[in-house]
């Protein structure tokens, strides 16, 4: 098997451990932000530690919710809606 594939496979096999490592890294990003001094004072939220982390998490949930809401309420149609579906 291709060496690159075996590297990818070993990453997949260790995904649980990698997940924990990533979690620890994320925790570190937040902790560092708690003790960081200085930085910008442009917006009201600049003084909230780890605001970007919180905002990104909430924004990802909100975007998925918005898209899926739009999809189910309004936009999803069957693949041959325009009469062309699959043309393989």
């Amino acid at each position: 098997m291709n060496r690159l594939v075996s590297v990818l496979e070993s990453l997949i096999n260790h995904r649980r451990r990698l997940g924990w490592l990533l979690g620890a890294f994320m925790l570190a990003l937040v902790v560092v932000d708690l003790f960081k001094t200085g930085g910008y004072k442009r917006f009201p939220w600049d003084s909230i530690p780890a605001f970007t982390a919180l905002y990104a998490f909430l924004a990802s949930l909100a975007l998925i919710g918005l898209a899926k809401g739009l999809g189910y309420a309004l936009l999803y149609r069957s693949e041959d809606y325009y009469g062309e579906g699959r043309d393989e």
Binding site: Y40, R42, F43, S60, I64, Y76
Partner: protein
């Protein structure tokens, strides 16, 4: 004759032989001409060339300054990369389309006046549509027709705008527009149609995914970015563009989340990324405009890389819907790795190219104290990583095993992707050469501790959201509507529904209008029967009398 060579002429002249050359010579030619064009562009010196007077207009065929050069460089680069990617395609028409399209795009970038710009602008539409049609499916043919109709309408708006602008100012020179009349808004509208600004954007996600595997690389690079250039040149600091651009960033990522086809998903992210540039033009500060130019440069490279990766999947697996893909890392690992370089670049991962350009625009919004815009642009960054960096690769290369075992992409495709990937990494690691060619003297450092901390928080916590909602994100075997619904469904339905009542009303109206003359005719006919008043014969004497009367009246009125 002064010594200068317009890169467009080189590309136009170089396009024709492609139809005649045999396969091996065609390949060599396809590498040679883009290389020469790149050399020609690299050799351009600032100044204006080819000033001619035509029908009383002062035209400037080539105006070279730092702003046009940034775009000319990256356009020439992408032609080299795209040509390598298309090397295996034995279809002269496609390659001719690519060369002339690239030549037309260079012509727009280098045009010093609005008329030259308009001619090349229209030429771009006429040449690029062949990159869609040469897919040679019924879907592609119909999508290409919609594409050319939208661009024809957009071109018309632009032309009317140019005429109105000339009427108002007496000049066709292309710089920051000097009036706020009809010309200003019509030209802006013409540019925005090509920039794919909602609600006038639907031509892009409609047509691009139907283009050929190799054609979409040129399409994604050229049309929207010439529009960004034109906006930078003509409309810097236009407040409307700040909001429109920020809206575009979110519109693109939201609709991308609904899409099943991987090339359509990436097409929606063109709308989103161009949104950053449009917002940058609107902000209009030197940091924002530099950010716009830098982001156009990096975007062309990483978006080409992403679409080349998706195209490789389509080329090898024969399908491009996430609901039918999965587990491709086993047989297409290099495509995956190179795709991920593009994905990390568009997501503004540190050390990749998007990080050094997108943060400029976001920072420009912050320096302008625009809180809402900053929040919108940042949320769009979340959506970008979510779809392009996580969802697409997960469901295409990992996820459920589709059982597909396509071979790795051909070497020429991988080489093209590797060149684009290397440039993305190089710009990300060493942005100084890019900053050096920006038009407004860049003094910007992306790699501050604050930027890195914020960006890593943004990306990792977006990943957390992805992990928690993974099942919600699974692509559906559906299509999602967009504003092209208006001309693909609403208008035809309305016409079908209304044609019968309109025909009935038309018949009734004509009958009503004809009733009076028909009545008169029947009266005349009645008078025409023998012995009736109109059929009676008149003596010649009375005719002579009346002729004399008429002559007398004529003479009298002539005498006065």
């Amino acid at each position: 004759m002064s010594e200068w060579l317009h890169p467009s002429w080189l590309l136009f002249a170089g396009a024709l032989p492609l139809l005649l050359l045999g396969d091996r010579l065609r390949r060599a030619w396809q590498l040679l001409i883009p290389a020469l064009a790149l050399a020609a562009v690299l050799g351009l010196e600032p100044g204006t060339y080819g000033s001619v007077s035509f029908l009383g207009f002062d035209l400037t065929l080539m105006r070279i300054d730092p702003l046009s050069l940034v775009f000319a460089y990256v356009f020439a680069t992408i032609l080299v990369i795209g040509s390598i990617y298309a090397l295996h395609v034995n279809d002269g028409v496609q390659h001719i389309a690519a060369f002339t399209y690239a030549g037309a795009a260079q012509g727009v970038i280098l045009a010093g006046d609005l008329i030259t710009l308009y001619v090349f602008w229209e030429l771009m539409a006429l040449t690029s549509v062949w990159l869609i049609w040469r897919r040679q499916t019924a879907t592609a043919y119909a999508a290409g027709f919609r594409y050319i109709l939208v661009h024809a309408a957009g071109g018309m708006v632009l032309l009317v705008g140019i005429l109105a602008y000339y009427h108002a100012t007496g000049s066709v020179a292309f710089g920051e527009l000097a009036t706020h009349g009809a010309g200003f808004y019509l030209i802006l509208l013409g540019f925005l149609i090509n920039a794919a600004a909602p609600p006038l954007h639907a031509w892009l996600p409609d047509a691009y995914p139907e283009a050929t595997v190799t054609g979409i690389i040129f399409l994604s690079a050229l049309t929207t970015k010439t529009a960004v250039y034109a906006l930078m040149r003509g409309f810097p600091g236009t407040e409307l563009l700040v909001w429109l651009g920020a809206f575009m960033t979110l519109y693109g990522v939201t609709f991308a989340a609904l899409v099943n086809d991987i090339r359509r998903l990436l097409s929606y992210h063109i709308v989103s990324q161009v949104g950053y540039m449009v917002a940058g033009v609107g902000l209009g500060t030197s940091l924002a405009l530099n950010g716009t130019a830098a982001h156009a440069f990096t975007h062309i490279l990483y978006k080409a890389l992403l679409l080349m990766g998706a195209g490789a999947v389509l080329h090898m697996a024969g399908r491009s819907k996430m609901s039918e893909l999965g587990g491709l890392y086993r047989t297409m690992p290099w495509t995956l790795v190179l795709y991920m370089v593009g994905a990390l670049s568009i997501s503004a991962f540190p050390l990749f190219s998007g990080f050094v350009s997108k943060t400029m625009i976001v920072k420009a919004a912050a320096e302008d104290y625009r809180a809402v815009i900053w929040l919108m642009l940042t949320a769009a960054g979340v959506g970008t990583f979510l779809s392009v960096g996580l969802k697409l690769p997960y469901f295409t290369f990992f996820g459920r095993d589709s059982g597909l075992r396509p071979a790795e992409a051909p070497p020429n495709m991988l080489v093209a992707m590797a060149i684009a990937g290397a440039l993305c990494l190089f710009i990300g690691v060493a942005p100084a050469p890019l900053y050096a060619i920006l038009p407004y003297g860049a003094d910007y450092n992306a790699y501050t501790f604050g930027h890195l901390l914020k960006e890593m928080q943004l990306l990792t916590f977006t990943g957390l959201g992805f992990y928690l909602l993974l099942n919600q994100l699974r692509a559906k075997a559906k299509i999602s509507l967009d504003t092209d619904w208006v001309y693909r469904r609403l208008a035809p339905t309305l016409i079908a529904r209304l044609s019968e009542p309109i025909a009935t009303a038309d018949r009734a109206a004509r009958a009503a209008c004809l009733a009076a003359p028909q009545h008169a005719m029947s009266l005349i006919r009645r008078g025409d029967r023998s012995g009736a008043r109109l059929a009676r014969s008149w003596p010649v004497g009375s005719m002579a009398l009346w002729t004399a009367v008429v002559l007398a009246v004529l003479i009298l009125s002539g005498l006065r």
